[in-house]
């Protein structure tokens, strides 16, 4: 505060944000946004109920993060905890796709796909339904509290809370069998964690989409900052074509000026682009951090241009370069294929194919070998040396499998597994339950007379008795 004293002017550090009252607008962008909203929300709310048969031993929910059993299911894909790198890959893919989208047409993510945008749009529609459009809302908010104002507010907030509650409710359905959980939730017998998560997500949805809205995009989200650093002059952005719009003037004045041959821009300064903007900015100030590029100002301006008899597209997707080019009298140019987009596309293709390859060649049996350390080796009465290992066999298939264990690497080396009776040619057969793992204690013995010195490499081989899938694991045999 003493710093404020040192300043000569008395400007406060903090400017409370002005509430934004976005006006309703109709047009192709608005329609596209509605369709995307329906698709996104439809997928989000309905996906947990989609079934996907995986046989009798596995859950039949298409998308399920089964935390209790450490499995993630996505249609035909099943991921075990140690395969979490698939998620890393997905995140890398998502990042590059975001970069590519940005290089092609700016903040497509922010304007159309981001959950913050989608839910805010939905909440705004609810607000409009109960409280009317922009002017009505402004007037009512400025006016005194009346019964009419009260019930509209109450209905709006209750509807918001209901949507928010459904949002949280749908979220927890991804973590348990959805129909069962819905029944449990309805009868208040669901786990406490489910209610807690629903409460948390109800609160965040209500707060972020209902109250904070554009503030999230302006102040909380890191993407605008990253995006601003990533963008270039060749990316399509929602652009006010000031080469066409300026000098702005009133409709009548423009007619008069044009009649006498004076220059007059197409912008009639009607403020419609500002009124419809969900972040409350003026696109005519140029591209800016606060613009989420939702395209609604394009719709608003096109409607006005139609009415004023000028051609549409005073605001539209364009590049900063093209505006300069037109001003300089050059032809416009847009190159969606350029070094930046090609590099991103190649990176996406690389990461994507690496993941696909990994998925296609994914092993459904794996072994992890742990050498027992106490004791590292045992001398038997006939002088042979024995090492003990704990071998965990992972069966990632939905049926019971018979795995044959063998060991190789030293002459006369042989393996026996504790607790397994069956053998195939003297090699132990381990039965592993569907979609689970089993640890077996294994003794590896080298007969006397084989020269052993310290440690020597050996390899364990696990093979499926029927399918023939084979995996190997390198380890060491310890000797005195």
């Amino acid at each position: 505060m003493s710093a404020a004293e040192a300043e000569t002017d008395d400007v406060p550090f903090f400017a409370p944000s002005k509430k934004v009252y976005p006006q309703h607008v109709s047009g192709p962008f608005r329609r596209a946004k509605w369709l995307i909203l329906l698709a996104c929300l439809g997928i989000y709310y309905a996906l947990p109920f989609v079934r996907w048969e995986r046989g009798p031993n596995l859950p039949n929910q298409a998308v399920l993060a089964d935390i209790a059993h450490n499995r993630f299911y996505f249609f035909f894909i099943e991921i075990w905890p140690q395969e979490v790198y698939y998620f890393t890959g997905l995140l890398i893919l998502a990042a590059f796709m975001l970069f590519l989208m940005n290089a092609v047409a700016g903040r497509l993510w922010c304007g159309y796909l981001c959950p913050q945008t989608v839910w805010t749009d939905l909440f705004l529609a609810v607000e409009r339904f109960f409280e009317g459009d922009r002017r009505e809302r402004i007037r009512r908010d400025e006016g005194p509290w009346t019964v009419d104002k009260l019930w509209r507010k109450i209905l709006k907030h209750s509807s918001w809370l209901m949507i928010a509650w459904w949002t949280g409710g749908a979220w927890v359905l991804y973590f348990a069998d959805a129909p069962t959980l819905v029944r449990a939730l309805a009868s208040f017998t669901a786990p406490v964690a489910a209610y807690v998560w629903i409460a948390i997500l109800t609160f965040t949805t209500y707060a972020l989409a209902g109250i904070m809205r554009e503030q999230v995009c302006k102040y909380m989200c890191p993407w605008p900052r990253i995006q601003a650093a990533l963008t270039d002059d060749e990316a399509l952005n929602v652009t006010y074509r000031y080469d066409r719009g300026e000098p702005r003037t009133s409709f009548k004045q423009a007619l008069r000026l044009r009649a006498i041959g004076e220059p007059a821009g197409d912008c009639v300064d009607c403020q419609q682009c500002v009124a419809v903007c969900p972040t409350g900015i003026d696109i005519r100030d140029g591209s800016q951090l606060d613009c989420i590029q939702c395209g609604l100002c394009i719709d608003a301006c096109d409607n006005v241009m139609t009415k004023t008899g000028r051609s549409q597209g005073l605001i539209g997707y364009d590049t900063a370069d093209n505006v300069e080019r037109r001003l300089a009298g050059k032809t416009t140019l847009y190159r969606p294929i350029r070094a930046r987009t090609v590099i991103y596309a190649v990176l996406i293709a690389l990461v994507g194919s690496a993941m696909l390859y990994q998925l296609a060649t994914r092993r459904t049996v794996e072994i992890s070998v742990l050498h027992e350390r106490t004791p590292l080796f045992v001398k038997l009465s006939d002088g042979s040396i024995r090492n003990a290992f704990a071998i965990r066999i992972l069966n990632k298939r939905p049926d019971t499998r018979l795995i044959v264990l063998t060991v190789a690497g030293l002459s006369g080396i042989r393996l026996e597994a504790v607790g397994t009776d069956a053998t195939a040619d003297g090699r132990p057969i381990v039965t592993v339950d569907p979609d689970s793992s089993r640890e077996v204690r294994v003794f590896v013995t080298v007969p006397p007379g084989v020269p052993l010195r310290g440690t020597q490499p050996i390899s364990f081989i696990a093979s499926d008795l029927f399918v023939g899938e084979v995996v190997r694991s390198q380890d060491h045999f310890f000797a005195p």
Binding site: M1, E5, D10, P375, V378, L380, G383, A388, G419
Partner: protein
């Protein structure tokens, strides 16, 4: 602004906030009270703490603490947790208690429970001598190998565990006493040296060049063969070790053998039946049997 805390009633023109009237080198201190919500929460926590003192153990006294009306104590909570654990295992424990050793060995589910319980009981009671994983050391048998003093079948291991070895408190204990041939004057020094060399030969080790092997063989026959057998193959009934295999408990170099024959060894193990319940003994039996030497 008739704020009683504001001594000066002076308003800072930049912030519009009252000052405390304190000034240092022209810098005045703003009177910025704690936010109301913060203070209220603080008062609530004070009220809460009073309830807490009454409900829970709180104030230290000279030898203990105030008890609290809820009767809560961390020690009791631990006991409750233990009881819950025990109750959770009740079915499995009962199954284990009712099953024979062979039944346990045949039933995968029972075996898993027995091995888990055996492993933890082994860690609590046995590792002190036999080492982690039963690796053993000089004088303490390695339980992973296939050489047994008193037998390596499930039944033999159970008996050994139950009654111990040379346990003075148990009448059925495993017992046998090798005489201290040197200390008790049964054998002379040169005789001990001869028989030690004979044992080296039995174990397939080279004897001393000048050793009197004939005497050694004769003395072995007269004194040792009764327990260890004429070929030195040992006798598990008597806990007499096999002297011909690759495993020794106290070493089979000449010095160790001389020491063993002179003073005798006679290792001991407590009779665990006195300390552990029958189910734990069973679990330990199965665990030791599973280590690798079970017969």
């Amino acid at each position: 602004m008739a704020d009683p805390h504001n001594a000066s009633n002076e308003i800072d023109h930049v912030t519009g906030t009252a000052t405390t009237g304190h000034e240092w080198d022209g810098i005045r201190e703003l009177n910025t009270p704690l936010p109301r919500w913060w203070l209220n929460i603080f008062y609530v926590t004070i009220i809460w703490s009073i309830g807490y003192w009454i409900a829970y153990p709180a104030w230290p006294l000279i030898s203990s603490t105030t008890r609290g009306v809820l009767g809560y104590a961390t020690r009791l909570a631990v006991e409750d947790d233990l009881a819950i654990q025990k109750a959770g295992r009740a079915v499995q424990s009962a199954e284990l208690a009712g099953a024979t050793l062979d039944q346990i060995k045949a039933d995968q589910a029972l075996l898993r429970i027995a091995l888990a319980q055996g492993k933890s009981a082994f860690g609590d009671n046995c590792v002190g001598c036999h080492g982690i994983g039963g690796a053993g050391s000089k004088g303490f048998p390695n339980l992973n190998d296939d050489d047994w003093l008193w037998g390596g079948t499930l039944a033999a291991i159970q008996t050994t565990l139950q009654h111990g070895v040379r346990a003075t408190t148990d009448n059925e204990t495993r017992t046998s006493l090798m005489p201290a041939f040197g200390r008790d004057g049964i054998l002379k020094r040169n005789e001990i040296n001869a028989v030690a060399n004979h044992v080296r030969i039995l174990a397939g080790q080279p004897a001393e060049p000048k050793a009197d092997l004939a005497t050694g063989s004769r003395i072995f026959e007269q004194n040792c063969a009764v327990c260890h057998g004429p070929q030195g193959k040992g006798n598990q009934e008597l806990g007499a070790p096999n002297l011909t295999d690759a495993i020794t408990l106290y070493g089979n170099d000449l010095a160790s053998l001389t020491e063993t024959i002179t003073n005798s060894r006679n290792g001991v193990m407590p009779a665990w039946g006195e300390r552990l319940d029958a189910t734990t003994i069973k679990a330990l039996t199965v665990y030791v049997h599973s280590l690798g030497g079970g017969q």
